[in-house]
Structure formats: C-alpha cells, structure tokens
C-alpha cells in the first residue's frame, strides 16, 4: 500500500559516500571507544591559571588544540570523552525505552480486551506527565547520575514506542497467517515473538533512529536544567549548556561540542529518514 520498493542497484563508490551519516556515526563510536588513547589530556584536569584560553594555547608544555574551558580543562579531550557519555546515554535509553514500549504495545495490540485498555491508558498517563517533573522526581528519589539520566529518558519516551508497536500489531494481528498460527494453538508469547515482532521491526527501527537523535538532544536539555550527568564528567550536552554562557568571550567552549552534537543528531536523523524511505512510512 505504500511506496514501491526501491530499485536494487549495484554498489558503487557514490553509494558508500552517500552513506556518510553512517560513516560519521561509526567514527564517533570509535572515538568514544578509544577515548583514553585519543585524548591528549585528562578531560577533568583543571588549571585555574589557564582558563578560557583560545585554541592553540600552550601551558606547561601541553597544547590546548581546541582551547580550554571555564575551569582550564582541555576542550578537545572533553569532547572526545564526552562522545562516550552522549552516545551511551542515547543508545542505552533508546534500548531501554524501546524494549519496554514495544513489549507493552505488542501486548496491548495482540491481547486486546482489558489488557489493551489498561496498558494504553497507562501510556496516556505517562504521556501526560511533564518530562521535567519525571526528571526532577527521579533525580530526587534515586539520586543523580549517569544511570538515572538513562532511566529518566526511558521513563519519558517508552510510550512513543508503545503507540507505534500497538498500531502496527493491530494491523498484523488480523493477517491470515497470524490467525492460522493462533488457531493451531500457539501461545501468545510465541505468536508475538515469531510472527508479529519480525513484521513490525521495520517501522520501529525508524522510530528508534529518530529517537536516538532526540535522546542526544534531551540529554543536553537535562544538562541545561541541571539534571544531567554529574559534573565534572563531560557530555556534549553539559559542555554546550555551560559554554553557551561564554559565547562572547570564549566561543570555542560551546562551538565544538555544539558542532559534534549537531552532526551526531543530523546523521541519526538522516539515517532514520533513509530507513523510513526503504522500509515504508515511520
């Protein structure tokens, strides 16, 4: 019912190039994995005598290639280490919210009846609680930190997956092969795992890719509101949210993490967009 399948073409160099978002993402992952080897300095090492120095500044024999921040820390090193936090927060929160949301959505869409009513109203309830309230309460009750940032993001985003999975499951569950399998006595868990999940994974993947970009932005937003990963740990979001106060005097603090974050989100969005073109509407 949707757009025709894209024509199969042989792989060419241009195709490889046109997948630059994927390559970029790959490079960032490498950056994050090998941060200790790549970073020229300790990302948390302060030097109050070398605050807000421009890119290229030299102190005690060390070069600040991308300048230093408000506590004299090396922006380049923080940028490299920050990739770890920003990427892992995004990946883990997408995984967690995806697993929870898809499970709930499929259960509601397949089992129908009371389960459907209760689960989908729960989705409505979670959609209506302001994310900021959930964030503050989670931090207040469980304490701040990396794990709880992921928890906050998952808590606020799982309903989105649930709604998509629910809608898709409703459509698939009425297909003949599912009915047949059910009539032959397959358990709900088996039908869901074998028949439904593989058939709805495409649109969910599209949602997940777009959500990935959003999660990077949300982590930055939490940092801006003082609820992100704990200082002095660097994340691109926290670097950007402090750096924005220095735009006139030290543009480099915000510009480099801003650019990195922008490219990361952009590549995630582009990949999501390509996927949705290939797989069908998201």
């Amino acid at each position: 019912m949707s757009a025709a399948a894209p024509a199969r073409r042989s792989f060419r160099a241009a195709d490889l190039l046109s997948w630059w978002p994927a390559w970029l993402l790959f490079a960032l992952v490498l950056c994050a994995l090998f941060a200790p080897w790549l970073a020229p300095m300790d990302p948390d090492r302060q030097n109050l005598l070398a605050r807000l120095k421009a890119p290229g500044f030299e102190a005690r024999g060390a070069v600040y290639h991308l300048g230093s921040d408000e506590l004299g820390r090396d922006v380049l090193s923080r940028l490299i280490y920050g990739a770890r936090i920003s990427l892992s927060v995004a990946v883990l929160s997408v995984l967690l919210s995806g697993v929870v949301g898809v499970t709930v959505g499929m259960a509601a869409g397949y089992l129908r009846g009371w389960t459907e009513t209760v689960l989908m109203r729960l989705v409505d309830i979670f959609l209506s609680i302001p994310a900021i309230l959930l964030a503050i309460i989670t931090v207040a009750v469980l304490g701040p930190g990396f794990v709880n940032v992921i928890l906050v993001l998952a808590l606020t985003r799982w309903p989105r997956y649930a709604r998509v999975a629910y809608g898709q499951t409703l459509a698939i569950a009425e297909r003949p092969f599912v009915r047949l399998s059910r009539a032959m006595g397959a358990s709900p868990a088996r039908v869901i795992a074998v028949h439904i999940l593989p058939n709805i994974v495409g649109p969910l993947l599209v949602v997940a890719t777009l959500e990935f970009g959003l999660m990077v932005l949300f982590e930055a937003g939490l940092s801006f509101l003082g609820l992100g990963v704990q200082p002095p740990t660097a994340s691109w979001g926290s670097m950007l949210s402090t750096g924005r106060n220095y735009l006139a005097t030290a543009w480099w603090i915000a510009t480099f993490p801003g650019l990195a974050l922008f490219l990361l989100v952009l590549s995630a969005n582009m990949i999501g967009d390509r996927l949705s073109d290939r797989i069908g509407k998201g």
Partner: protein, 497 residues
C-alpha cells in the same frame, strides 16, 4: 556601509513592530518573579528588591552599612528588654493617609502573630509586645535581652493598618500600599511588576518616573538584554558573564563585597570528616586565593571565620588558613581507610558550579574521594537538613546570609548543636552562643564570637573560604552603589543622559 544597512534594517524593523520606549524608566531584570509584594509575607531577594522600594522600614542601613533612621528617627534601650522608638512625623502612605505609631504597632503585631504564619516569623519572634506611647513613640518588648533586635528591625516594613484591615491580606498582596519612594502601579503575573514615583515622598526622591522589574530566568538572556539596551540593570551574574560586558562602552559592571561567607560544610558525624586530621587536610588542600584570583575576580576576600568584616562580631585576630597541598596529601596518606571513603558533595544549580568543581578537584588532588551530587534545590535542602545527621551529604558548599550583619545570624544556625543546619556538637560553642545572644554588652558579645571563631578555626568544624562579592550589570548611565546586604534602593540611584 554595514552600519548603514543595519540602521536601515533596524528602522524597517522598528516601523513594523512598535518597540516600547525606555524614556526615564528603569528596567531591571531579576532572575525570578517576586513571590509576594506584601513585605511581611515571604522574604526572598526577588521579592525584596521590589517591595523594599514600596515600603519604608523602621530603620535602614546606609550604603556604608551603618544602621540609620528611616521611619524611626531615634531609639533608646530603656531596659534590658525594652526599646523605645520615636516615629517620624509627616510620613504619608500612598493612599494619602498619615503613617502613625498605630501602624507601626500593627505591623509588628501582624508579623509576630503565629496565626499569620509569616515565613519571617523566626526573625521577629523574640518580640513579645508592641505598644503606642505618648509623644509619637512606640515601645517594643522582647522576651529577654536581645542585642540583634535593631539589626532585625532593618527588615521590618511598615504597612498601613487601615488598608490591610479593610481589604484583607490577599488583596493587599495583590495591590500593596506603602509609604516608600515608589508606588505600586501594576503586576502582570509572570512578566513584570511596575512601580511609579511617589512625588510626595518625605525623603530623597528617585530619579526615575517608573521602574519595571522583569523576571528573566536565564542568566545569558539577562546579559543579552542589558547589551541590547532592553534592560538597565541585571542581577545574579557571575564574573565570567561580567567579563562579556567589558568591551561594551554602553554598559558596566558593578560589584561590592557582601555579608555572605562562602564555606565548605563538612559532615562531622561520618567518615572521613569525623576525623580532625582529615578536616585539617581538607582545609590545607583548598587554594582560597587561587579560587579568588583564578575564578571569581570580583573583590572577594579569603576568610578564616564565618563572619565577614561587614558583620558585628567579626573577630580581627583569627589567623588565615594555610594552603599546603603537600602536607595535606601526607596527612591523607596516613589515613588510607578514611581517604578511600567516598564523600558525597551535595549541591544544587544555584551554587556557583565552577567553585564546586574546583573544590572537588582540590580535595581529590590530595587523595580524597569526593563525588559531586547535584539535585534541585528542595532536594538538596531536604538532604542537607536531614533529621539524621549521618544521612546528610559528606560535604556541601554554601554562601550564608542572614541579611542582618550580626554574627548571631550566622553562628547560631550553623554552629549551635540543636539548629537545623548545624553539623557541630560542641557544648563550649553552645554556651558561648547563648551568652552572646542575650547580652547587651557589646564587648561581651564580641569576645564570645571571637572565642567561637577560634574554636571553629582550631577544630576545622566548618571551612570558611571567602567573603563573597555581588555583581550587577548596569547601563553606563546608571549610578548605583551596591551594598553589603544586596539592597536595591531606587531612590539612592542616579541617571545621567
């Protein structure tokens, strides 16, 4: 060329959107909206900046910090617990009625009435009686000798009895009537409060026809407002934001040392800071001058006690703290178990995170294991004042202000063993604090506070770091002298076109 283009485009934009004019009106960007304009309800800086211009207080402080007459022209301690004040003649409220001793008595009784439940009750509940006397006088009675009374009366605003009784507390808060240099004009909820000049003011008049106090929560936006000329005065900025204003000739930065003392609070009930050596090591690890010179740069002074020179009870002879990270590292190394104990450094976004992170680094450099734990303010406060002291954060950074400039206002809540903020449990300190609180002999009080300061210094109960400064961004045309108690009197300002 570029400028012509800009001017043209600006002209076009102005033609399309009518921008408000700022002629002879002062626009002030506060961080938040006043929570109340009734001076006897909540006390917080954003409310105080505004309502202090609508109301006169019993006494006030000069820019130099001296207690000087305002509504009371003179006062006399007639006995240990009785103060008689003479009320100024010829002061009228904004509705035209005269301010009388009855209004003063009413104001005192209102704020001390437990049923009224003023958040400021704790500052005035030593006052047990107020009565009108012959000859335009009022007598205040306290439940014992109370030397800090005058310092507290600096914060007591006079409200009109007739108006409050007629309209009720709610309506009075929504449209307050005072006797101050500015009249309440309008309150656009969530946006701004507008005041207009009181032409009949008994004292010095303000230079502005109107003053608009706006709520602008983001510091970067406040700075941008000032640079764009949309605001004439902005509060709550740090030294790095101030540095952004330096190259702009139409704005300037104003600063003054305040009565706030920044300190590192230590939890004395749990390791590692239940150990004197470790507390000393923590103090030796902190480069106070480095924080001031490297980060703050606004005229802060290192201190070795919780009072600042702006306080009564500041002890002159307390030796400054030393900075010796090598010695600190040695001490810490001698206590490996204690050093390995994780210290949770509780904080909230309102505190200067640069200082918090610098402190963490300095402590960890000598071998401590400090982790920052940042939550929102109510969560932080709940943790910092937890009933079970062992549950409180291992360390915390604070900038204490009692707005009274008396050592009693800092030492009592922070050091007295039964105070909600205190982490200290020292009978000698308790005894000295009680003695100082009820003595009317200034020398006795000074000696007691000096002794307390010395004990705190020797025991490293709390680690004072510096006397904080306050920074304002202002239009170059504005004349404004910041004060230690962070007041903002419109009628003490000037404006030069």
């Amino acid at each position: 060329m570029k400028h012509t283009m800009r001017a043209l485009l600006t002209g076009a934009a102005l033609a399309v959107f009518a921008l408000p004019a700022f002629a002879k009106d002062l626009t002030v960007d506060l961080a938040g909206e006043p929570s109340s304009l009734d001076p006897q309800v909540q006390w917080n800086p954003d409310s105080y900046y505004v309502y202090r211009n609508i109301f006169d207080n019993l006494v006030t402080r000069s820019n130099e910090g001296e207690i000087v007459p305002e509504i009371a022209t003179e006062w006399e301690q007639v006995s240990d617990n009785e103060l008689v004040l003479t009320i100024r003649d010829g002061v009228t409220f904004h509705d035209g009625s005269a301010l009388t001793p009855e209004d003063v008595v009413f104001s005192v009784k209102r704020i001390t009435d437990p049923a009224f439940a003023s958040p400021q009750l704790g500052q005035f509940n030593q006052i047990t009686g107020a009565e009108v006397m012959e000859g335009n006088k009022v007598k205040l009675t306290t439940n014992g000798p109370y030397p800090a009374l005058l310092a507290q009366l600096v914060k007591l605003s006079i409200v009109p009895k007739a108006v409050v009784e007629e309209v009720g507390d709610e309506a009075f808060n929504a449209a307050p009537v005072g006797s101050g240099p500015y009249k309440f004009e309008s309150w656009d909820r969530g946006v701004s409060v507008t005041l207009t000049k009181n032409a009949d003011y008994w004292g010095e008049e303000g230079p502005f026809d109107a003053a608009i106090f706006r709520a602008v929560p983001d510091a970067a936006t406040r700075v941008a407002d000032l640079q764009a000329g949309a605001a004439d005065l902005v509060v709550s900025i740090d030294s790095d934001a101030a540095a952004q204003l330096q190259n702009n000739p139409s704005v300037k930065v104003l600063s003054a040392p305040t009565e706030r003392v920044a300190y590192l609070g230590l939890n004395l009930d749990i390791p590692p800071f239940n150990n004197l050596d470790m507390r000393k090591a923590a103090s030796l690890a902190i480069d106070r001058q480095g924080i001031i010179d490297g980060l703050l740069q606004a005229g802060e002074q290192p201190v070795a006690q919780l009072a600042s020179p702006a306080h009564f009870g500041y002890a002159e002879d307390i030796a400054p703290f030393e900075y010796d990270p090598e010695q600190a590292a040695e001490i810490v190394k001698a206590h490996p178990d204690l050093a390995a104990t994780p210290v949770s450094f509780g904080t909230a976004p309102v505190f200067d995170q640069r200082v918090v992170q610098a402190l963490q680094q300095m402590l960890n450099d000598v071998g401590f294991n400090v982790e920052i734990s940042m939550t929102d303010m109510p969560t932080y406060l709940a943790a910092a004042r937890a009933e079970d002291r062992a549950q409180r954060p291992g360390a915390s950074f604070g900038r204490w202000s009692c707005a009274c400039q008396d050592a009693d206002g800092i030492a009592y809540p922070l050091l007295k063993s039964d105070s909600s903020w205190s982490r200290v449990n020292d009978p000698k300190i308790d005894e000295l604090l009680e003695k100082a609180r009820v003595s009317l002999d200034e020398q006795v009080r000074k000696d007691a506070y000096a002794e307390v300061a010395q004990i705190v210094r020797d025991q490293y109960y709390v680690l004072p770091i510096y006397q904080a400064a306050v920074l304002y961004g202002a239009s170059a045309k504005l004349g404004f002298e910041p004060t230690a108690n962070e007041s903002m009197f419109l009628n003490r300002m000037t404006w030069e076109e």
